[in-house]
Symmetry: C2
Subunit: 320 residues, 2 copies
């Protein structure tokens, strides 16, 4: 596809995710521009050669004029104000987002801009560092990028958002919002809690323990170093799904504790964990594409979701 | 120090740890040789230019003749047989080990060779891959190497073992056996269980979840990929200490679950984990040496242990 003729992209929020998306699209010669509330960020982005502004109404008026895709890329607490501005200044633009919890964002959009052409999205890309200073154009290369795929989504809009993710270098994974939120509770939010408890228990023993800490502790606690307010916003926004995975975590650890106490064995948990890690490595190593689905054909969204549940990815192939 | 004139080292077991130690010492021009039960390993080590044999009595007779330091480097189940052979063929040699749980190894040595000149040791180096094929001479560079430091340890023998660890490229951390075992339960064995439960819960959700898994899952579950039998031998050999850290892990997760369920918040666990991770990073970044202890002076062992509990390391300085 020719980038220069594709629809422009207007990104609201130039932190790690939004800023990296702006870099990637602009570096590839695509028309892309962004808004950020902070003058410092706007100055930094502009100095780096990117098209950025602190004027929200103006950037949205431009987006409306150019029929741009508008990308919500602020933290959750700022979303409602962004959505209200979109509803006022660029109501007919295709709207997507790059924010973690999909049912939560969909609810904010539905409340503030009921008639929005909204297709949610979520790139699974790093959050340990934040802000414009942490942005880079390769952030999404090879990353999984969930695209909301409800039954009533417009096929043309869906494809535009999926192609945006693909253009960013990411791999498109179609999913329903609630299935996505359960999945990220299991493989992202719950791991933040287990990393936190691993760190707290390890550091509680003594300076000797932290002195002896090696790879298992370093890797197992890495995400506990993420800014607490970022972790809390992400995890607490997905409280219901996280409660389920946390309860399962506790149940499995209690069973392991009982087996260790009564039989001196950790066989079950170690075997389950090993099997699960091997399955993860298999899935990570193989990117099987979704096949035989024509976007817009009868039942296409349900079929995309079904195949994605098998671990497959969507590729923009001619004729899809 | 001149390596060529230092005491030779005889290593029993040429897996990841023992084999890497043999490589390191021999590559540095030090006299070092090893034994392994497996003909394949002996052939591989010999073909790579190292001095290795499958004849246990002969290698120990040579060690006795040359007053070598004998290093136990087999898995725990094979230790008793090794110790019996040392008692028979090289009873007066200085004996050390590189096996995980120190109270367990000390008990095996005390049972099979009551008069042994034994000073235990434990390098905190990787176990995810195993066998001679995984060995490399830099395995211990910068790694922490615990050296058993009970009150009644012989100062000359202690220094010889500490200097061996230092020659391997490691950083010496003096500790009592039971304190070491509690510490590794907290920062190594418990992280294996939290990695296992993180993997099992994540993989239990769906293929979609594993498809979306990114850095937090990859790093947080890495050690769950270690061979289950290696994990079980290590963890179950430290069952008492592990039971304590596992109970604390469960207690903290239950408290977090209650806070999440009743108040929609994960504040306490996320804050505790973040603080603990920061402390770990501070300890990892700063290697403060133990000061003003003369090895062999009155109360030297207790003072080494006291300072190591503050997170300090031992450096072989002239006059120590």
């Amino acid at each position: 596809m020719s980038s220069s003729t594709a629809r422009p992209v207007c990104i609201l929020g130039l932190g790690l995710i939004g800023g990296s998306l702006l870099r990637r699209l602009a570096d590839d010669g695509h028309r892309a521009y962004g808004y950020n509330r902070s003058t410092t960020t706007v100055t930094e982005a502009t100095a780096a050669g990117y098209d950025a502004t602190g004027d929200l109404s103006a950037v949205l008026a431009r987006a409306a004029d150019e029929d741009a895709i508008v990308v919500l890329a602020t933290p959750v607490p700022a979303l409602a104000a962004m959505v209200a501005a979109v509803a006022e200044h660029a109501p007919s633009c295709l709207l997507t987002d790059v924010v973690s919890v999909k049912t939560e964002v969909a609810a904010v959009v539905a409340a503030g801009h009921p008639g929005a052409r909204y297709v949610g999205g979520h790139p699974m890309a790093g959050t340990a560092h934040s802000g414009w200073a942490a942005t880079h154009s390769d952030l999404f290369v090879g990353a999984m990028w969930m695209v909301s795929t409800p039954d009533d989504v417009d096929p043309t809009d869906w494809r535009a958002v999926a192609e945006l993710a693909h253009r960013a270098g990411a791999v498109v994974v179609p999913a329903a919002d609630d299935a996505h939120d359960r999945a990220v509770a299991a493989i992202s939010h719950n791991p933040h809690l287990t990393a936190a408890v691993t760190a707290a228990v390890g550091a509680g023993e003594s300076g000797l323990a932290l002195r002896l800490a090696a790879g298992s502790f370093r890797d197992g606690t890495r995400v506990a170093g993420t800014a607490p307010e970022l972790q809390r916003a992400m995890l607490e926004g997905n409280a219901m799904a996280l409660l389920n995975t946390l309860n399962e975590t506790i149940d499995r650890l209690v069973a392991a504790r009982d087996q260790l106490r009564d039989h001196g064995s950790v066989e079950v948990l170690v075997a389950d964990g090993h099997r699960a890690r091997r399955r993860y490595e298999e899935v990570a190593a193989a990117q099987v594409p979704i096949t035989e689905v024509t976007i817009g054909a009868d039942g296409w969204a349900a079929e995309l979701r079904r195949q994605a549940h098998l671990g497959r990815i969507w590729l923009p192939v001619d004729g899809n």
